[in-house]
Amino acid sequence: MTEAQTVRIEHLRRRQPRFSGLAPGHRACQGCGQALAARLVTEATGPDVAVTNATGCLEIFTTPWPESSWRVPWLHSLFENAAAVASGVEAAWRMQGRESKVLAFAGDGGTFDIGLQALSGMVERDHDVLFVCYDNEAYMNTGIQRSSSTPHAAATTTSPAGSERMGKRHLKKDILGIIAAHNMPYAATASVAYPSDLRTKVRRAMAVKGPTFLQIYAPCPLGWAHGGELSIEVARLAVQTGIFPLIEMERGRVIGVMPVREQRPVTDFLRPQGRFAHLFEDHARAREELAHLQALADHNIERYGLAGEAPQRFDSEGADTVHRGGVRRG
């Protein structure tokens, strides 16, 4: 193929309207990370899928009867069983000889907490399902209550900051570690700030025959108390500070990371968000927690080998820089 032909095909590909499983007009808040993430995921999966959806914002804002934003078959049963319902759909389709892929969508509550058992069962039984966790780090649909995904020191309505407490006392659960321990064929984290990387990971997961898992960082302007226009910025800062590392794992082994060549201080990530406002008050506990969060970010950088070499000239804010000269493990 000549270079001109390649360019022409590329040109045509770019003009091709992209399939989206989620139609506009739904009722998500401005700047909702989950709505964006769900659209990006279905853009990458294409239409030959079915979705089982756990109870939560995504289910509520997309399907106020008699309307629905979904352009793919979609089934919401309950909060804790998205993975089990997906298992059933997948088993049925396997018996029918159907090749379509089953997706299970849940928030962090439906993944880390109430849905964890069903998810573990689905993975153990080797169902050919892509499970997507839209991680906004609290129970947003019920009004911003703490989940086991809520980061340390974040204030929620059930872990408020006060004279005796600095927000959530415990650490964010290492869900990827738990999933990896299931000998998972493919598991990755992604972020709405890096859409091309996100789509690539969805396509990789789709290509695997067996259970796969994607944890997508999805800012919630309402719950995190930042402006809707800052969602992408906050999500990007989570990656650039080391707070939310973007990694890929195969069979429990890290196979790729998005490098963080110039680590930003965690305060850059924390300051725009009202949920961390108490950390910027002038007292020793606040300073102690800030130092603690910085240490956690540093630990992530170290643990996943995120630190790259010197900045490269192609690097730019917000570009999809995955694997471009970064450290690859394995």
């Binding site: 629905s68 049963s77 298992s87």
Partner: protein, 391 residues
């Protein structure tokens, strides 16, 4: 040619004859022999089916839900605590109008823990929106499972087949298993009208606002009521094919002309029938075997109770602090009669307490008296140690 089969094995084979495509289950006594039997059919190649051993009853029901929504015939089975754990899913399956069949091997609920038979588990999910059919013997359990798939798939209402734990699941009776061809003729392949299909996407399980909720629930109520016709026709057609029928919604046994009746669910009917032989002086009793508890067959019940002066409702469950479960429903239904019988309500045989033949004269002694309050009739308080008594 009838052969001696354990109830669970017989039911496993009956379910296998229905060609389910996905079976998911989690073990709980006394359901285990059923799902072991189905696993064995799959392992031996006698049944082409995805058998999915899940990590909880919650997932057992959820997997069955997903499979049926995706257009496959699905089945699960449970009992007792398992029914309670999956109760959230049971309501959901019914509300979504996803047709599937499950067996409830009736067992008591904890605490105190008891693995033995009563019907508390089925009563606990009475309002879930499922058809609930109770079987009096193993042959009826076999035939009812086959009928259940047809009822569920024609009405898009899930069906729970209730059979008493141990007394039916773990005992042997001579059983006639139908031929595969008989079942195939009776039960066509499953086609779900609202199946998940990427070429015809639809959204199931959407948010319904107060603007529509009552209407949706009304539709569900009407749908469950309408299953009555299918329950009757399934039983009629099955009887025409095999010679075995069970009265559809309910069956009057014993002495149909008697002015005293006993109404009950499940295997205790067999005990009461045997008791009529044992106590000839008690043989003038009309035995009403309520087969369908949901839908509650008011019209059939009114006909069955015509001419009764006393009706004793025998329950195998308890609503602590309440006026019984079955009794108030029967009483309310019979209010439509011009001359309703006196309706007496008692519970017996809780947590596996044996119901002896002598229950019959005891129950009949209630007739003629004004109905008292609901009570447990087979209490033996002297069995409990007295408070503060030490030896």
């Amino acid at each position: 040619m009838p052969r001696a089969l354990e109830g669970s094995q017989a039911v496993a084979r009956a379910v296998g004859l229905c060609r389910p495509q996905v079976v998911s289950a989690y073990p709980i006594t006394p359901q285990t022999h059923i799902v072991e039997g189905i696993s064995r059919l799959v392992a031996d190649g006698a049944l082409h089916c995805e058998y999915i051993s899940v990590e909880s009853e919650f997932s057992a029901a959820s997997v069955a839900l997903g499979a049926a929504a995706a257009g496959s015939r699905a089945y699960t089975a449970s009992a007792s605590q398992g029914i309670l754990l999956m109760s959230e899913v049971l309501y959901n399956i019914a509300g979504l109008r996803v047709p599937l069949v499950m067996t409830c091997a009736n067992r008591a609920l904890s605490a105190p823990v008891s693995i033995w038979n009563d019907q508390q588990d089925a009563m606990a999910v009475r309002d879930a929106g499922w058809v609930q059919l109770f079987c009096a013997d193993i042959q009826e359990a076999v035939d009812t499972h086959i009928q259940a798939f047809r009822i569920a798939e024609r009405t898009e209402v899930p069906v729970m087949v209730c059979m008493d734990g141990f007394t039916l699941t773990h005992t042997l009776e001579p059983v006639e298993l139908p031929e595969q061809q008989q079942v195939d003729d009776f039960l066509p392949p499953f086609h779900f009208s609202r199946t998940l299909d990427p070429s015809r996407p639809l959204s199931m399980g959407t948010l319904v606002s107060p603007d529509y909720f009552s209407e949706v629930r009304h539709t569900q109520h009407e749908a469950v009521l309408a299953t009555a016709t299918e329950i009757e026709s399934a039983d009629r057609d099955w009887e025409a094919a095999t010679g075995r029928g069970y009265g559809g919604l309910l069956q009057v046994r014993g002495d149909p002309g008697a002015v005293t009746g006993i109404l009950a669910l499940g295997g205790v009917l067999g005990t009461l029938e045997d008791a009529r032989d044992e106590y000839p002086e008690c043989s003038a009793v009309r035995l009403i075997k309520l087969r369908s508890f949901r839908p509650f067959p008011v019209d059939a019940l009114l006909r069955a109770c015509e001419g009764l002066e006393d009706l004793i409702v025998l329950e195998r469950a308890l609503s602590p602090g309440g006026p019984g479960i079955l009794w108030p429903e029967v009483r309310a239904s019979l209010c439509e009669m011009e001359r309703p019988p006196r309706v007496h309500g008692v519970a017996a045989g809780l947590g596996g307490r044996d119901i002896p033949l002598s229950i019959l004269p005891r129950l009949l002694s209630l007739s003629g008296n004004p109905p008292g309050r609901f009570r447990i009739i087979d209490l033996e308080p002297e069995r409990l140690p007295r408070e503060g008594a030490h030896d």
